[in-house]
Symmetry: C2
Subunit: 351 residues, 2 copies
């Protein structure tokens, strides 16, 4: 028997192998988009993928900031909504990109929330085997969570993220001013994941959040920059240690075993962050029963979520439905439910 | 402005980041499949994806070799043919995999030729954001070329490989005995790429081929092992230096600018290797006109292809169609056609 040793990419350095990149966080950053892209060496054609809601708010200004920096940019607009995170929409976008004569070097700019980021990211990862991706998340959830970590996917056959891959952007631009056009409910929805970072990994940040909800809710620039930057740094740190979600990254699932189940059982009337908030409370109580969290820590978690205005109690959903949802999420293994529980506020050990 | 530096995967080692793997080449290797998979640490569920033709020949024996080594294996069979390299077939496979309760750790085994390798590879890369892939290529083209290098894709909207990614197997098993059930035409079709390696990179191998066509055509075990092993080593060497096809890897496109155009203009009546053979001759003559190849080198190339039984002259296709096909392949840039020409037999410089 003969053996050929294959060592993919062992001796190269280029934009695909050198995957380190920056997340820039600042109010008003959208207008720097063209300059930031030029600094990365991009020129010529770019394509913005966005939804109808975000397009109305920021599409034409982003287009202007790109055109005025010499880019030949177009906008591909899809309808707003989770149902667009599908292979069908991806398929339409492949054809649109081909019609626009996009090449392997043409950057795709994902402008919008989590659905746009996941969908555009998957399309960027797979169109012609991968083109450069720039993320411009415009919701708190996308800026603090979903745009970071390279997880891109579409739903299929009723299963969340069944088809996807890992693909990192070349740059992420977080303009915290875009958070000011979110509805209160959308903004709070994103805060659930922000609070989660404090609970699992950063006690100081948790205390900051306890003391700063009023500044955050009044959309103070410094507060917004702080929560986005700190959240991004925490998530980036975990991703740097467990890119492919094979171990360490699991702590990010705190609140999500129950959260996902509530979210899908509610047929999306309970939003992601809201469901995670309920999940975090329920799972905190489980952690307390297991001696991992103290009663006072659980009380602080519940108090902070309540102060934000997030729900903390399981809504009236069928328990069977919840269990079925957990089974679909592959969270039930040999009769046991898998949770990612905190061991004290901010006490996760990443080493 | 605050900046978060993201360094994906900077401090991890696991099956996804440690992407080095072996290509094993040997007659009769199929029966070792179970043992080789166990050696890699796999156990439990595996899924074989194959087509109806290959399934009839090798499906049940591979299944037996896996079951007898304790694997819980199933076969997903698709119809034979290039038209299966589609998002539609991939979509069906996602659902089948989910119905079989495949997890993120369940290896997919691609048993078949190039279509099966490209399609199953794409499905493995994207099902649940990536599951382990084992390639068992059964054609000469797949063993020597298409299974190596991580390029996986499906066709879409009439465009070859429009949707795909780069994804490497954990192991490739080349059982050279499977080459003995190929039709003469299929076997020769694969030889075109083998000869290409000699022309672009390995003069000694080219001379070996000139001297060994009769042993190769009589399917001598040593000859088959030699051509597969040498071809795999040459391609693996190039992939190791330019995984994402951003430069060096382009020399593998020798013969393909014209080859692809002929292949698609002929509506697949001219097969890939046949079209590449014609492309190599035409492009060798262009190289000669540019002073890159000598007349005697061109003659040796033509003579070897003829001895193999491959076509060497452009068939009766409409020139406009050829140009249109090259435009579709994005080979025509600003009025110029892009070729990857050899600079003397075996003389490419990989440094």
């Amino acid at each position: 028997m003969q053996t050929v040793k294959v060592k993919p990419g062992s001796s190269q350095r280029n934009w695909r192998t050198d995957r380190n990149y920056d997340i820039k966080v600042c109010p008003g950053l959208l207008e720097k988009a063209g300059i930031l892209l030029k600094e990365l060496g991009f020129s010529g054609k770019t394509v913005i993928i966005t939804d109808s809601t975000v397009n109305k708010l920021y599409g034409s200004s982003l287009l202007h900031f790109l055109l005025s920096n010499g880019f030949d940019s177009s906008i591909l607009q899809i309808p707003t909504g989770e149902e667009q995170k599908s292979l069908e929409t991806a398929t339409k976008l492949y054809i649109d990109l081909n019609n626009l004569k996009c090449e392997r070097t043409t950057p795709i700019i994902a402008l919008g929330g989590g659905v746009i980021g996941d969908l555009s990211g998957f399309v960027a990862a797979t169109y012609m085997r991968g083109v450069p991706l720039v993320q411009i998340p415009t919701t708190l959830l996308a800026q603090c969570d979903s745009s970071i970590g390279g997880k891109v996917a579409v739903n299929h056959s009723g299963l969340k993220n069944l088809v996807g891959t890992f693909y990192h952007p070349r740059l992420t631009i977080c303009d915290t001013d875009t958070l000011k056009t979110l509805s209160k409910r959308e903004f709070n929805d994103g805060l659930a994941e922000v609070i989660k970072y404090g609970i699992i990994l950063d006690k100081e940040f948790f205390v900051y959040l306890e003391n700063s909800i009023s500044q955050i809710h009044s959309l103070d620039n410094t507060a917004l920059e702080t929560i986005v930057n700190r959240s991004a740094a925490i998530k980036a740190g975990i991703v740097g240690k467990d890119e492919y979600d094979l171990g360490l990254r699991n702590i990010l699932n705190y609140g999500h075993t129950i959260g996902h189940a509530i979210e899908s059982s509610s047929r999306m009337t309970v939003w992601h962050g809201e469901a995670v908030a309920i999940g975090m409370v329920t799972e905190a109580k489980i952690a307390m029963r297991l001696g991992l969290l103290s009663e006072s820590e659980v009380k602080r978690i519940v108090a902070l979520l309540k102060e934000v205005g997030l729900p903390t109690e399981v809504p009236n959903v069928d328990q069977d439905q919840l269990i079925k949802a957990m089974q679909r999420d592959k969270k039930v293994v040999q009769g046991r439910i898998k949770f990612a529980l905190p061991r004290g506020i901010g006490a996760a050990d990443l080493t």
